[in-house]
Symmetry: C2
Subunit: 256 residues, 2 copies
DNA sequence: CACGATTTGTGCACGCCTTCACAAGCGAAT
DNA sequence: ATTCGCTTGTGAAGGCGTGCACAAATCGTG
């Protein structure tokens, strides 16, 4: 594998040579990053794969393989240098520059996201707020003034915005997505419960809160019907409180 | 924790025998459900796998396989009966009963979720709001009064709450999770950026908004470095606007 | 009744991801 | 210098999920 690794200390090289990362790994890197920041705050200078895996809620073997994909920097017998690994991951994820983000749809959720502090602390700056409703335009949230969506193209260009967040009702989402794309945005985080149609080259990630609840409901539903079954009290086969993360559980079935 | 699905209209067979659903399928069923509701509103009575797949943003073969897992109800040569399929999926997901949900942490995000209309319309009722801050207790949101978290055990029992949503800061999340579990909640949707530790049998799903942005940033970062590469203007190899959903794109690398 | 058009349901092969298990490598202690 | 304990990095195996391609089934029509 190509494990390019120019001196990282010298920020001379912007992007060494993007390693080929499995999508599953990319999705976990941010979680590792968060865990690392937490460890750094606690004063830890190094951490073992076991320790970091626990903090991130994953399997340690998986963690090691993930890190190995980006030309890992661990020291056998010791572990990983926390500060170094943070820089490495931030580099790979492209977080060394700040990203300007446009937020469209200042309703309930949009309002909350506009005021959410969790973005700024992780390299994202909400650079502009938009809405189509003239009554909302002009309102100030967290130091930002809500603009009319017609200004989108100009502001996107001015601020160098590449990422957009859609928090409009589903009925408006596609239109907003089209406008974002037309304005030059190439990554969209969609909170509206609908499928967006975008041209090749534009990335869309969807977050649907109701869907998350429905998935939980399924498991809840299943658990409920399991307890009311022949197997009797399955308390016996419960393991000694194994700790789980957001991870998936296996879905076993009751035969007939 | 009783299950109980009241005999919905007609269908003689209540719950044949919980089918063994792959987790990936479970995660997609809610999306199909949303698409189906949309089709029903449009007046469609039947839909082909191709049509439904398009509306849900997935491959038609995948859709058929997913549906086949729950003892499919399609008619060859015709398609699926929309109303019937809706009932079927709702049955499997356990949405025939309404789920009472507790929301803990009435900050920016919690406030927004408390007022979010997308839950009620999909079978979830926010039954109670909690916060630890005495200043927030008593506030009324959307007809609900914020209670102190000490009341959690009583209210959970009274309202039959099985699902909890955590929208507190990360520092408080673990403690809140413990309290939820102690009160009898067995499914948690966690918005706090941290790993929760819960006993076996409790499901946790995590939604981290900053992580979503970081994943987008990675792809954006990659796209940016690609355009600045030898290949020249890749405008030529753009396909005629292939439509994508929240789905994943493959992460191809630049070999050299 | 027979036929053709259409669409479902699924066997199969492929690729990705996960997990195990272990050799290689590093540091500390003797 | 050597040994010993610990931890990383990875080869290999297994499982899961995806997508193709096609047989089976159903409806409408003549």
């Amino acid at each position: 594998m190509s494990q390019q690794r120019p001196g990282s200390s010298g920020p001379a090289v912007p992007v060494p040579a993007l390693p080929d990362l499995p999508e599953a790994t990319v999705a976990r890197l941010p979680e590792y990053l968060r865990a690392l920041h937490s460890l750094a705050e606690a004063g830890d200078e190094t951490v073992s794969s076991e320790g970091l895996a626990a903090a991130a809620g994953v399997n340690s073997a998986k963690l090691r393989k993930d890190l190995s994909h980006l030309g890992s920097y661990g020291t056998r017998g010791v572990g990983y240098d926390v500060a170094r690994l943070i820089k490495q991951i931030e580099q790979v994820l492209g977080l060394t520059r700040g990203w300007a983000v446009a937020l469209v749809g200042i309703g309930n959720l949009g309002h909350a996201l506009a005021g959410y502090g969790g973005f700024a602390s992780r390299g994202f700056r909400i650079a502009a707020l938009f809405d189509a409703d003239p009554n909302r335009v002009g309102e100030e949230i967290n130091g930002l003034v809500v603009r009319h969506i017609d200004e989108l193209p100009r502001v996107v260009a001015e601020e160098g915005i590449a990422i957009g967040i859609i928090t409009t009702p589903a009925s408006a989402a596609q239109s907003v997505a089209d406008q974002l794309v037309a304005a030059g945005v190439t990554s969209i985080l969609n909170f509206a419960p609908c499928v967006l149609s975008v041209p090749e080259g534009v990335d869309v990630r969807k977050v649907d809160l109701a869907i998350e609840l429905q998935i939980l409901a399924f498991h809840e539903h299943r658990k409920a019907s399991l307890t009311a079954l022949p197997g009797g009290s399955s308390a016996a086969n419960r393991r000694p409180a194994r700790r789980r993360t957001g991870g998936t559980g296996s879905v076993k079935a009751v035969s007939s």
